[in-house]
């Protein structure tokens, strides 16, 4: 059943793609137009952002603390809704997305956090399988797919352990495995290496690179200057709720 749905999804995506190309529409993975975000307490976090991100891009989001990076990221996975403007992902307008549709939307993307957000009572395997269980996938498929992604992040041999028995880097790898287990088109990472030592950071970055090479769009907020300067990708710098710099193979541009 799951396979049929999956195939249908691919087919329908393909059809819409052809349709859009025929009509000379450019489709962006993520597109923000005139986005403003003011919190109920009066803080204006985002003050007019226009940005387009293509499928398969790797984007660093940089900027000083409190510049609006987090809000920017949160709006992409629909944790926050813009006060005005539109955000579309794959043609879906997130600003107008109904509450009921939010879970369905989230199944198309993966999110990775600084604090891993793993369930401490579940094993590594269960934590990853969890993301497929909630979408009621076929148990056989779950088993196969979970082992596949655990292999990708290099933790196949630790599937039965609890998160507390793992190092920080390993925990982050579990959370990355969970974020990609349902083959999302976009992975959003909010300072994924913020809690890790430099060496582990490189391991994690290698995994992100690998995921990106397989065609997944990656948007990563980071404070790590070394990463941005050595693994060159598009850099979007946010200050005061505005994009102040957007370079295709940019530098970090801040003193740490």
């Amino acid at each position: 059943m799951f396979h049929i749905v999956f195939l249908l999804q691919i087919l329908s995506n393909y059809v819409t793609l052809i349709f859009k190309i025929k009509n000379n529409w450019v489709i962006y993975m993520i597109e923000m137009q005139e986005v403003y975000k003011k919190y109920p307490n009066g803080v204006s976090a985002i003050n007019g952002i226009d940005v387009r991100i293509n499928q398969g891009e790797f984007v660093y989001v940089v900027g000083p603390s409190g510049a609006g990076k987090s809000t920017f990221i949160k709006m992409i996975y629909r944790e926050e809704v813009p006060s005005s403007g539109t955000i579309t992902m794959n043609g879906v307008n997130l600003a107008k997305l109904k509450m009921k549709k939010v879970p369905l939307f989230r199944r198309n993307l993966g999110v990775v956090f600084q604090d891993f957000k793993l369930l401490q009572t579940l094993t590594v395997y269960e934590n990853v399988a969890f993301a497929l269980e909630v979408i009621e996938a076929n148990p056989k498929y779950i088993k196969k797919r979970v082992m596949e992604v655990l292999d990708l992040v290099g933790l196949k041999h630790k599937a039965r352990m609890l998160p507390t028995e793992l190092s920080g880097g390993e925990q982050q790898r579990v959370s990355i495995a969970r974020s990609i287990v349902n083959s999302p088109k976009v992975v959003i990472a909010d300072e994924p290496t913020g809690n890790l030592d430099p060496e582990t950071t490189w391991d994690i970055m290698k995994i992100f690179e690998e995921i990106n090479n397989r065609g997944t769009t990656i948007i990563m907020a980071t404070h790590n200057r070394d990463i941005v300067n050595s693994i060159r990708h598009r850099v979007i710098a946010i200050e005061g709720g505005k994009i102040v710099r957007d370079e295709s193979r940019g530098e970090y541009g801040y003193e740490n």
């Binding site: 996975y77 944790e79 009921k100 939010v102 879970p103 369905l104 939307f105 989230r106 199944r107 999110v111 957000k117 369930l119 009572t121 969890f130 993301a131 269980e133 909630v134 979408i135 009621e136 148990p139 969970r178 349902n182």
Partner: protein, 297 residues
Amino acid sequence: MKIRTIGRHARESLKSIGRNGWMTFASVSAVTVTLILVGVFFVIMMNLNRVAETIEQDVQIRVHIDVAATEDDQGSLKSRLEAMPEVKTVKFSPKEKELQDLVKSMGEEGKAFKLFEQDNPLNDVFIVKTEKPQDTMKVAKKAEKLDYVTKVKYGQGKVEKLFSFIKASRNVGVVLIFGLLFTAVFLISNTIKITIIARRREIKIMRLVGATNGFIRWPFVLEGLWLGIIGSILPIVLIGIAYYRAYDYIGPRLTGTFIRILPFDPFVFQLSGILLLMGAVIGVWGSLMSVRKFLKV
């Protein structure tokens, strides 16, 4: 929803009961205490109700028939009484029997009335019973207007008072039971809320990986259900035993009076069913109320 998903929810809810040991204990004891209160109260209410019913059953209307009435007149009066929709039975009681009853009820002094046996001053009487006791007054009024009826007696004044007293006590009982149930739901929703606050993170992560609200809610609803059911076991057992003992003790002492308490079987079994259902409902309701808040983002 798929069957294996239902299985997963059931497993998750049971696991969670085991994991949150102390909170489970707190919720279960809240249900237990409330259901014991409700149960005891229910037992008392139902038995009082039973007594009230027996008293109500004893209320009858005595329609005195005019001496001038012939047998045919009496017959037509009887059929007219029976034709009333509220009336259940009409029984003829000749004046000789009425006198005997009177003599009997007066005891020693009643012997003085024996003189009347030669010239009985009493009337023949129709004893009318109504379908519903509350209709007594209505039927009495209607009967008064019929031909060949001299007097209608049903314990005027007393019956009205009795009925209004029974009605009031029933209402008070219903209000009290609802009050107790409301408190129980409140208590349980609060305890479950605490367990849910402890698991806010879990809910957040579930939402993050794309779980629908329904999917998140189910294990909590089932958990509430289990808590309610577990919580109702002790009250059922306690009240069952207590009622069994009480029935053995009180039952024989009531012989000879008009009061009867409800028999153990089926009353206790019905009560158990009600308590189980109440436990389940308040458990589910409580968890629904508290999980709702965390699903709004």
